[in-house]
């Protein structure tokens, strides 16, 4: 599941509509919307509310399948030559308050421009600065990054910003914000949909039936924690070698244990199993 994170409802609306997201009956007071393969969180403005709400959202059971966090929102841009509505992917997030910097991994191709993004405490109204380059300003990304990093790795975080102003202090209407996001939505959605939704647990080479047979075997042979880990390793090696009938083999050993088995019986069974799985 991919979690879209926005600060304002007008930034959320295009996604709610396009992805058919629905507000669940209970979301622990959070403004969360759920759909097939996507979820959306509205955090409110500022890095602290954003961090708190992202962390709380990612602890919800409904969002336990989130593998990817994508922050989408508007930003100010210091370079007046950059047209309003231009979409950027941030390759560096600077936290103005602390001077710290955070780096989402840039691993996948994308159609956007790239730039550093500075997360500020209050709106920057300095006006355009032609020497600054396309430096972007927002108020949430650094908070989102720090909170999301407790749950997903840096390659699974993406910060997409749509230029809404050139730091000239003009107020943006809800309609204008929605319009800016809507204009970028097709390209952003193509990018989001192409992102890998990889499982975090790469060790799941064992099938469900293998796991069940392993549990049965561990109980039948009264294996210690260390022995259980060892048998599991043998089972994984067996699967990685492309061999079949693992569950059958494990179950056969579990079921062949005599009544009133001794420690020696169990040790022999374990040794035999190791040999059988290795050959």
């Amino acid at each position: 599941m991919k979690l879209l994170v926005v600060a304002l409802y007008p930034e959320a609306r295009p996604w709610i509509v396009r992805l058919g997201l629905k507000k669940p009956s209970s979301a622990n007071g959070l403004e969360v919307y759920l759909g097939q393969g996507h979820a959306l969180l509205v955090t409110g403005v500022g890095k602290v509310p954003a961090a708190v709400r992202v962390a709380r959202a990612l602890e919800l059971s409904e969002l336990s399948g989130v593998r990817c966090v994508i922050n989408i929102g508007i930003c100010g841009c210091a370079d007046a030559s950059i047209a309003l509505g231009t979409v950027f992917l941030a390759n560096k997030i600077e936290e103005a308050g602390t001077g710290r910097a955070f780096f989402p991994d840039m691993l996948v191709r994308h159609p956007f421009l790239e730039s550093a993004l500075v997360t500020v405490e209050r709106p920057v109204l300095d006006g355009p600065n032609p020497l600054a380059g396309p430096v972007l300003y927002d108020m949430e990304a650094a908070g989102i990054f720090q909170a999301a990093s407790c749950f997903v790795t840096a390659d699974r975080q993406h910060y997409i910003k749509v230029v809404s102003d050139h730091l000239d202090g003009g107020m943006l209407s809800k309609e204008r914000i929605e319009e800016l996001v809507e204009q970028a939505a097709d390209a952003v959605l193509d990018f989001v949909n192409a992102l890998p939704d990889v499982s975090l647990d790469r060790r799941c080479v064992l099938l469900q039936e293998d796991e069940a047979a392993l549990d049965k075997l561990c109980a039948a042979l009264r294996l210690t924690r260390t022995q259980s880990v060892q048998v599991r390793d043998w089972a994984i090696a067996y699967r990685l070698a492309g061999k079949q009938l693992l569950a059958t083999r494990l179950s056969a050993v579990a079921e062949s244990q005599p009544e009133g088995q001794t420690k020696a019986d169990r040790a022999t069974a374990l040794e035999t199993l190791q040999y059988e799985l290795a050959t």
Binding site: V108, W234, A237
Partner: protein
């Protein structure tokens, strides 16, 4: 998935951006996007990184090393019987992706760090030469240690610089450049240097294919090695780790045969043999970080903080390869870990 090409981005410490070696490296990546950073550790050592995903599109980090320009030898590495064994870290991580490599357990990041303040390394090495414990022996310095420098030579010509540094220091400094690359051509225009050892790590082709992702094929490595021998360089062969793969005896006998045919065993300075061994913590990290590979689930023995073969197996593997070599070269030139 549509991955960005390797080194699509270069994270450059602001303080090194104008250093000549940094500029020379960046010239090789004219399309790379430059991201300025304060310290490479804010990218390389950050938490929440996925080594496996990063390896699909590694990035370049250019930095200045601030301290520890020379390290004392590790217990996991053969020291070529030299009491003054030291190593350095000119670059962190490797362009290759070998399943048995400890780097993937040692670092959180798969990105490639290149330290560009070579003058500081040279000064520290000069100092280490002066204060080496055994003055009768040269300082023996491995420069391709937590990396494969020759594999990266076309990008960052470290080997060339160090070979130049070695000139005129015979008797006081000897360096080893270990590699799996087929990049000798990068050095082919240089005069061979008596205090430089070019050491190739070789494996049977089946091991190259199974466990040494992104490395050149065995035949390319042998060709490169033979080229170095022809040009008069001192060439070492390392078969390390010898792995108990299926049909391993035939595979390793075939490897020795191929080296004998294409390089000539008598042309080698010496041979280093070793078996799989790894720090237990690194081994645990690899199992958590990487997609499962059968190597990680073998019946390894854990002893004294090391994961390795049970002793009998260890002996069997090294003795077999040693036996393949013994009749064909001076046994005194074969060293086994």
């Amino acid at each position: 998935m549509n991955w960005l090409p390797s080194y699509s981005h270069a994270y450059v410490e602001t303080a090194v951006r104008d250093r000549p070696f940094a500029k020379e490296i960046l010239q090789k990546f004219p399309k790379a996007r430059i991201v300025e950073i304060h310290d490479y550790k804010e990218v390389f050592n950050r938490r929440a990184q996925d080594f496996e995903q990063q390896k699909k599109s590694p990035k370049l980090l250019l930095a200045a090393k601030k301290d520890q320009f020379v390290y004392d030898g590790s217990r996991f590495v053969q020291d070529a019987d030299n009491p003054n064994f030291v190593y350095n870290a000119l670059s962190l991580n490797c362009a290759y992706d070998c399943s048995y490599c400890y780097l993937q357990g040692m670092y959180n990041s798969a990105n490639q760090v290149c330290f560009v303040n070579l003058d500081d390394y040279f000064a520290a090495t000069e100092h280490a030469i002066q204060r080496r414990s055994f003055q009768a022996c040269p300082l023996y310095l491995c420069i391709s240690y937590d990396t494969d420098l020759l594999a990266f030579e076309a990008v960052a010509p470290y080997c060339r610089r160090w070979i130049e540094f070695c000139r005129g220091r015979e008797g006081e400094l000897e360096i080893e450049i270990r590699t799996k690359s087929a990049n000798f051509s990068q050095l082919a225009d240089l005069e061979p240097q008596a205090n430089v050892i070019l050491a190739w790590s070789l494996s049977p082709e089946s091991v190259c294919q199974l466990y040494e992702r992104k490395t050149p094929a065995l035949r390319s490595r042998l060709k490169s090695m033979a080229h170095a021998v022809r040009n008069g360089w001192r060439v070492r062969m390392c078969i390390d780790p010898i792995l108990a793969i299926q049909d391993w005896r035939a595979q390793y006998a075939g490897l020795v045969e191929a080296v004998a045919e294409q390089v000539g065993l008598s042309n080698l300075l010496d041979v280093h043999l070793g078996v799989f061994r790894m720090n237990t913590d690194y081994f645990g990290n690899i199992r958590k970080r990487r997609s499962p590979v059968d190597l990680y689930y073998r019946n390894w023995k854990r002893e004294l903080g090391t994961v390795t073969h049970p002793e009998v197996e260890r002996e069997e593997l090294t003795c077999f390869v040693k036996a393949q070599l013994s009749g064909r070269m001076d046994p005194g030139r074969i060293r086994a870990w």
